[in-house]
Amino acid sequence: MKHPEQDQLLRKCLAGKPSAQRRFYERYAPRLYGVCLRYARTETEAQDYLQEAFIRIFRDLNQFRGEGSLEGWLRRITVRTALGALRKERLEFPAEMEAFFNHPASEPTALEALQARDIAAIIRQLPSGYRAVFNLYAIEGYRHAEIAGMLGISEGASRSQYARARKALQNLLTEPENSRRHE
């Protein structure tokens, strides 16, 4: 392990030192909150996910073996927590997607011009199923077979729902070189 500082922090957390837990939280919470903000529908929901994820993280910290990166492990737990919450309310794949955007009439914006915050806000407007599939495939980089297993849908469904989510997002986030506007 090449992260003596991280190692020490982990050890102190495992020993139950409150100050270390607090530092651990402060160090990773912003990034993991960013993850939650992509999966949740609202910021309040994202905060609930984050809270639950951290409760699990502190609970299971002793199971982290130090193989692979700590951040990857934390992300996986966070994603799993968010998916669990999403699945509880059933994943939705409505056929008419465009209706779910608040401003379907607005001009598409160039992806390059947007901040991460704005993109996350747009992703949050996707129906839950598309949101999950899009995040897992495009951002987290899982394969469709894995996503199918995580969401309890078929691999083909994952593929096709991803394609639809991608198209819907692309309609809103036009890329400059192939700006195809419908006018």
């Binding site: 609930d48 409760i55 699990r56 609970r59 495009a138 951002i139 309890g152 890329e175």
Partner: protein, 397 residues
């Protein structure tokens, strides 16, 4: 080359950091220290409290292979409410009275633990109503009559046999099972991490099956090292399935924890060893397999497709598949074979004949004896042969 849409999105979002509000940290502190009392949203509080508590107990159960089920403490008894449960559930009162009078001595009042008698959680979804009525009134008779479910229950629970309650009226039984159904639903809704009704369990089972089993097993066909799982819940009792240990690994005394198994995505040996997979997860996997078995059994289209798949694997190297009759193969065309012989004859012939020969060299060693093929192993499973014959019949039509 410009970047793909995915790459651009990933670049934008990989490092996306936002400072969460302080309330989250407070919630984490409380949740980690003392599950049960969360501020704010009540529904979420319940879910969180249960998750945290279940988690703690779950870890405990990992340490103690044979620990008592943790569920008891979590189930809300009307007389003993947990702090988060401010709305008392309304269940069928008369049904509860019947339960308390007749069932409670043997069955868990919380419905989810096996005691002297099995847990009754979700039983109204698993069995038809008239079956439940008949069984409650006279279980011994149903076993004697050879009712398949009753016999399975007996196999699993013998020598204890449930008392007969022939005097319960239809009204009383209706109330009783109504109460059990309501209570099961309540548990399923409020404690989803602990217990799920059959259809949800099947969904969860499918997920777990894909992660843990499907890298070695297939439902329909033999894989290099693993038997097919079709009908496994009918071929083995559930206590056998839940307690099965992979002999090779078990004898080495390896212990695994659940996280290692999950992270290996099924690359580790048969997972239930060392009790690392909690029983409810195993149950949901078997629930799923039972559903799959039914699907192939009852749905003609699935059956024919399955038959085709099995045929390709077991017969296709020698016999021409019906729809490709221009290819040269050593074996005869099987398309009308079911008209000439009964299924039983075909099964015997398939397994024992020395007339299906010739390619013995290409068979794996255990299918050869002194250079001649032996097909008992290859055609070990009745269900596969049945599916093949179904497929051949379907081809004819």
């Amino acid at each position: 080359m410009s970047k793909s849409f995915e790459e651009k999105m990933r670049d934008k979002l990989k490092i996306y950091e936002v400072q969460p509000p302080d309330s989250v940290w407070k919630g984490v502190q409380k949740g980690a220290a003392k599950p049960g009392i969360f501020p704010g949203n009540r529904f979420l509080s319940i879910v969180l409290a249960v998750t945290a508590l279940a988690g703690a107990l779950f870890l405990w159960s990992l340490l103690n292979e044979d620990s008592a089920s943790p569920n008891e403490a979590l189930i809300v008894d009307e007389t003993n409410k947990t702090p988060v449960d401010t709305v008392p559930p309304v269940f069928n009162r008369r049904g509860k009275a019947v339960f308390d009078n007749y069932c409670r001595t043997c069955h868990d009042p919380g419905l989810i633990n096996d005691l002297t008698g099995p847990a009754l959680f979700g039983v109204t979804r698993r069995r038809p109503m008239d079956w439940l009525y008949r069984f409650t009134r006279n279980p011994a008779q149903m076993i004697r009559e050879g009712d398949s479910i009753a016999v399975r229950v007996w196999d699993e629970w013998k020598p204890s046999l449930m008392n007969a309650f022939p005097n319960l009226t239809d009204q009383e039984l209706e109330d009783l099972y109504n109460y059990i159904e309501q209570r099961s639903e309540y548990i399923s809704q409020h404690y989803p991490d602990l217990h799920q009704l059959p259809e949800q369990a099947e969904l969860q089972g499918q997920m777990l099956y894909q992660r843990l089993c499907s890298s070695c097993h297939s439902v329909l066909t033999q894989e290099s090292n693993a038997p097919p799982l079709f009908g496994i819940t009918r071929r083995r009792t559930s206590s056998y399935l839940l307690n099965y240990r992979h002999p090779a690994r078990y004898s080495r005394g390896d212990t695994l924890n659940l996280d290692e198994i999950l992270q290996s995505d099924g690359q580790l040996f048969f997972p239930p060893e060392a009790g690392a997979i909690p029983e409810r997860m195993l149950r949901s996997i078997y629930e799923f397999l039972e559903g799959e078995t039914d699907r192939y059994r009852l749905d003609l289209k699935s059956r024919v497709e399955a038959g085709m798949q099995v045929y390709e694997q077991l017969c296709g190297s020698c016999h021409i598949p019906g729809y490709l009759s221009d290819q040269e193969r050593p074996g005869p065309d099987l398309r009308s074979v079911h008209r000439r012989h009964s299924r039983q004859w075909l099964m015997d012939f398939t397994r024992n004949s020395r007339q299906m020969p010739a390619v013995a060299d290409s068979l794996p060693p255990r299918e050869r004896v002194q250079g001649r093929p032996v097909y008992e192993h290859r055609f070990e499973y009745d269900f596969q042969l049945e599916m093949i014959y179904d497929y051949l019949e379907w081809l004819e039509e």
